[in-house]
């Protein structure tokens, strides 16, 4: 498999004199992988995701996604890279309140200059596959948490990104909805979508990722490939930071999302 995302000695420091948010991290993610980045609050996992998406720049080190040195791109080039290669899913959805479901989903395609007809067709497919087609004209305020996150996923997928980055995608929904979202992500990954998932929930990590990278104090504490059946291997971290094991559900058979 090809390496899709590669970080080399990446450090991100917000303020001098304060410990870096990300400290000399090197890692590689292969195309088609589902990787969970785990760690306690403030460990630097969201910063890591922002660096991969080009939403922030490292203080030092190199960030590669595909053939692009993301950290070297201009603001314009990184925006173009993001709309082409990256789909972002946020904990609090980050939908635009004054736009309908359809307009939220269409936005990245419109910014990328995709033909209106093609964009609408793609958005329609995604909304159907995510079972929210009937809410296409609703405003986000009228949707449940699960529905909002599905809209966010549709928006993240509209430009067929190489990598889907999800920052605590189930953090703001109840557990049943969280399972639903997780299943969706698994389904996407099963179709070949590279997925990097940031979570502090070991159960989610164990159930929906093939590989778990643990971050502590900005550094990679462990990087483990899950055993078959989703069993998380023993953590090298002290007991209070050890992540509980979980089991992976079966991959849904539906491949419509690719």
């Amino acid at each position: 498999m090809d390496t899709l995302v590669q970080l080399e000695n990446v450090t991100k420091r917000y303020d001098s004199g304060v410990a870096p948010a990300v400290d000399d991290v090197s890692l590689a993610v292969e195309a088609g992988e589902a990787v969970a980045v785990m760690g306690p609050s403030g460990s630097g996992k969201s910063t890591l995701l922002n660096l991969i998406a080009g939403m922030d720049r490292p203080t030092s080190g190199a960030v590669r996604v595909g053939d692009e040195r993301v950290d070297m791109l201009s603001e314009t080039a990184v925006a173009r890279f993001r709309r082409r290669e990256v789909g972002m899913i946020f904990q609090f959805f980050n939908l635009l309140d004054d736009m309908t479901v359809m307009d939220n989903v269409l936005l990245p395609a419109q910014l990328a200059g995709t033909r209106a007809g093609a964009a609408r067709a793609r958005a329609g497919e995604l909304l159907t596959a995510l079972r929210i087609e009937h809410r296409r004209d609703a405003y986000p305020a009228r949707l449940s948490g699960g529905e909002r996150q599905r809209v966010a996923i549709a928006r993240a997928l509209i430009n067929k990104p190489a990598v889907l980055l999800a920052d605590e995608p189930t953090g703001a929904v109840d557990s049943a909805t969280g399972d639903e979202i997780g299943a969706l992500l698994l389904q996407l990954n099963a179709g070949g979508q590279t997925l990097i998932l940031v979570t502090h929930n070991p159960d989610l990590a164990a159930r929906y990722a093939h590989r778990v990278i643990e971050i502590a104090d900005g550094r990679v504490a462990s990087d483990r490939v899950l055993a078959a059946g989703g069993r998380l291997p023993a953590s090298p971290l002290p007991p209070d930071r050890t992540l509980a094991a979980g089991s992976r559900p079966a991959v849904p058979p539906d491949g419509a999302l690719q």
């Binding site: 998406a53 922030d56 972002m88 980050n94 910014l111």
Partner: protein
């Protein structure tokens, strides 16, 4: 109260940009108002102030020194009612060869000179504008109204006087000054027989008082000693009437500046309340009463507003300096300044208006429920504009960033309206200012007869290049109007002289066309200030004067008049009027109204009509228009070389002082108002970015480029600017078309359509874009900042 102060200070710290904007807006509005009102206050009384500053002469009496002795003249200074006196200063009128450095050749002119040992004194304290007072022989100081400049020379016989200084007398007591010894030397054998006595009187407020004062002086001197006495009231009258026209436009600009600043303050405080919702909730939850919340928000505005007011007054005073200096030159005073009451009243008024603007949104903050404010957790989302977003998102042919921007104003309709109003008033000022400047330029060209560049006159026989008695002085019939130096006007040219002049003008390269002129004064019953009649030989339209209505005269029984004539005589175009002089009665039909503002009652007709009124009156001078590129002074010198020493030729002197000062004022006020309106847009965009920081972060996270971000934000104000700009053009033109005739009316005149029609079609199109330009310029700063912000920073911003 300490808590309120602390809360206000805390709020201020968190809203540095808003505080700076309030400060700048209030600063600009205060500066504009101070400037406008300062000029206005100054316009009311510049002559009186200048007159007091320079201890101007209430009466300048010309006395015959061969009739009155020095002792008798000195005794008049101690008469009852005389508070100060200066003189006797010997005076004479010279005819000199005039040469200017850098201009080939020379010409001849007459100049009234007084002998004074110093510019200062108890009366008529002269202001030296340039150079120095004569320190030796062959040096002369000229008045700013006299021809020539530093280095020019006047040759009288064997003496050559060089201009070493330029000075001004508030009542124009003389055209030039030399040391007393120089004057005696200039006079030579002719002996100076005249002197000037300058008096200030205890009671000089009215013409009657002045007449009584002059009678007292006359009575104290031998009969015939006082040849003439010039009252300051005549100068005052003409100076003050030239100021009235400027009042309407200064008021218009001042009101525009104040309205815009109030609108912006409303937006700034409204925005601060919206953005500070959580803070209001917290303040209330810890025990702030609604009144304290209101007070803390009013204080939030008060601190930068007071600062802006103070700096604004200083800026207004500083900006007024060059303008007042121009005025000081016009009124020939050393220094004028903005009155203190303006410096106090303007900031107080601006602060009161600012407080009035800040109070309604602050009251809204006071009424807000604490629980709701805290629970919201962030600025309440606008509930408007959804439809606009939805509708615009359907327009596939327009880039999405643009439609996103276009939908933004709908989110906060009230703020959009207030911003649009600010831009509208700014753009109105642009249209109004541009039109006003154009109208003033045209009016000045018309009034000053700018096309006439060179004047040719003849000297009385035997007057060539030697000290002379004043020319003119006909005793019967029409009285020639003083043209140039000295009392009385020039005598009519003989037929031979006229032939010589027209031959010289015809032969000289550079002549475009010329007219002959005869200017006389008549005192018909009913016109207390007299009637000036001007006879133009040739094409009257070449006089450069503009017609308000009707046409130029075409026969001996037709005449044109200025507006004041129609007003004072109750006539109108088409009426007839009978001129009587020396037993001759001539009835003319008024066929046109001439644009000639001011206090003079004027009538224009042909030389044939003039001859019918008074067979002794005739052509006194020729005014010449030159082909483009011809140097007037060089042309005047060349004509002089052709005609010889018995003629006077001069390049026409024009003092555009008042027009230039007003032009500068119009430009400054327009720029200030544009700046205020631009700051209003900047504030709106800054508020919008602040409130939508998170959305902008989301846009960026889904791939919006910096350029698209910039386009989105600029488009959010572009429509507002464009619409406001388009509305502003007719509004500005309406204001212009109302103010300009009012200004002319204040100058006792109607106005030609050519002066009011100040806008070319292409200008109208360009002016329509003024609102857009103001909006884009105001938005560019914050929009660029937002475009350049990192996505992660923007997402964290809330």
């Amino acid at each position: 109260m300490t808590a309120v102060f602390r809360a206000a200070r805390g709020g201020l710290g968190g809203r540095r940009l808003q505080a700076i904007i309030i400060c700048l807006v209030v600063l600009a509005a205060t500066a504009a108002s101070t400037l406008a009102l300062g000029m206005l206050a100054d316009a009311h009384s510049p002559f009186d102030r200048a007159f007091a500053l320079q201890r101007g002469a209430d009466v300048a009496a010309t006395v015959n020194t061969s009739v009155a002795t020095s002792a008798q003249l000195a005794a008049t200074t101690r008469l009852a009612g005389v508070t100060a006196a200066a003189g006797p200063f010997a005076v004479t009128t010279i005819t000199a060869q005039f040469a200017t450095p850098g201009v080939p050749g020379s010409s001849s002119l007459t100049l009234q000179i007084a002998g004074r040992s110093s510019p200062g004194g108890p009366v008529d304290d002269l202001t030296l504008v340039a150079g120095h007072w004569p320190t030796g022989d062959n040096q002369i100081v000229i008045s700013e109204n006299a021809p020539g400049n530093m280095g020019s020379t006047f040759t009288v016989g064997s003496r050559r006087l060089t201009v070493v200084g330029v000075a001004d007398s508030v009542t124009n007591t003389s055209q030039a000054w030399v040391r007393p010894a120089e004057l005696t030397a200039l006079a030579g054998r002719a002996r100076v027989g005249q002197a000037q006595m300058l008096y200030r009187f205890a009671d000089a407020g009215t013409s009657a008082a002045i007449a009584a004062d002059v009678a007292t002086v006359r009575a104290a001197l031998p009969r015939g000693a006082v040849q003439s006495a010039a009252s300051y009231l005549d100068v005052r009258q003409s100076e003050q009437s030239s100021i009235a026209p400027w009042v309407p436009f200064i008021i218009a600009f001042g009101v525009l500046a104040l309205v815009i600043s109030v609108l912006i303050v409303v937006n700034v405080v409204g925005g601060a309340v919206i953005a500070g919702t959580t803070r209001i909730g917290v303040l209330k939850s810890i025990g702030f009463t609604p009144a304290q919340v209101v007070a803390s928000y009013v204080l939030l505005v008060a601190v930068p507003a007071v600062l802006g007011c103070v700096i604004g007054v200083l800026c207004g005073d500083l900006l007024a300096v060059p303008l007042l200096r121009q005025n000081a030159q016009i009124y020939q005073v050393g220094g004028l300044s903005v009155p203190v009451w303006v410096d106090v009243a303007v900031p107080l008024a601006v602060l009161a208006l600012t407080a009035a603007g800040a109070t309604p949104p602050a009251l809204r903050a006071g009424r807000m429920s604490a629980v709701q404010a805290i629970a919201t957790g962030r600025a309440p989302r606008p509930k408007h504009g959804y439809f606009a977003h939805r509708a615009l998102a359907r327009i596939a042919s327009v880039p999405r960033a643009v439609t996103l921007g276009l939908a933004a104003p709908a989110a906060r309709p009230a703020r959009t309206l207030v911003t649009a109003a600010a831009v509208l008033f700014g753009a109105v000022a642009v249209t109004f200012g541009a039109g006003l400047a154009a109208s003033l330029t045209r009016a000045y060209a018309d009034i000053s007869q700018s096309s006439l560049s060179v004047r040719v006159m003849a000297l009385p026989p035997g007057a060539a290049s030697s000290p002379s008695a004043p020319p003119g002085g006909r005793v019967t019939g029409l009285k020639p109007i003083a043209i140039g130096p000295g009392p009385g006007g020039p005598a009519a040219l003989t037929a031979a002289q006229q032939r010589a002049v027209t031959a010289a003008l015809g032969a000289q390269p550079g002549t475009l066309h010329y007219i002959s002129e005869g200017q006389y004064e008549l005192t018909p019953p009913g016109l207390t200030n007299g009637l000036n009649v001007e006879a133009y030989g040739g094409n009257a339209a070449w006089s450069g004067l503009a017609l308000i209505s009707g046409r130029w005269y075409s026969g001996a029984d037709e005449a044109d008049v200025n507006t004041l004539f129609l007003t004072d005589t109750g006539t109108s175009v088409g009426s007839t009027y009978t001129l009587s002089s020396g037993g001759h009665n001539v009835t003319v039909r008024i066929v046109g109204e001439v644009f000639k503002p001011g206090d003079n009652v004027d009538m224009y007709f042909s030389p044939a009509t003039l001859a019918a009124v008074d067979p002794g009156a005739g052509v006194q001078l020729y005014d010449v228009s030159l082909t483009p590129g011809t140097n007037p002074q060089a042309y005047a010198n060349a004509i002089y070389a052709r005609l010889g020493a018995s003629y006077v030729t001069s390049a026409t002197q024009r003092n555009s002082g008042v027009f230039a000062a007003v032009d500068t004022l119009v430009t400054l006020l327009t720029l200030l108002i544009i700046a205020v309106a631009g700051l209003g847009v900047l504030n709106t965009v800054a508020l919008q970015i602040r409130e939508r920081a998170h959305d902008i972060g989301v846009f960026k996270s889904v791939g919006m480029t910096p350029r698209q971000t910039l386009a989105m934000i600029l488009c959010s104000v572009a429509v507002v600017g464009l619409v406001a700009g388009i509305i502003a053009v007719p509004a500005g033109m309406f204001l212009h078309d109302g103010v300009v005739p009012t200004m002319a009316h204040a100058a006792n005149s109607g106005i030609p359509a050519s002066v009011v029609a100040a806008y070319f079609p292409w200008e109208v199109a360009a002016l329509a874009l003024a609102g857009l330009a103001i909006a884009i310029a105001g938005a560019l700063g914050p929009a660029s900042w937002a475009a350049g912000t990192r996505t992660a920073f923007a997402l964290r911003a809330e």
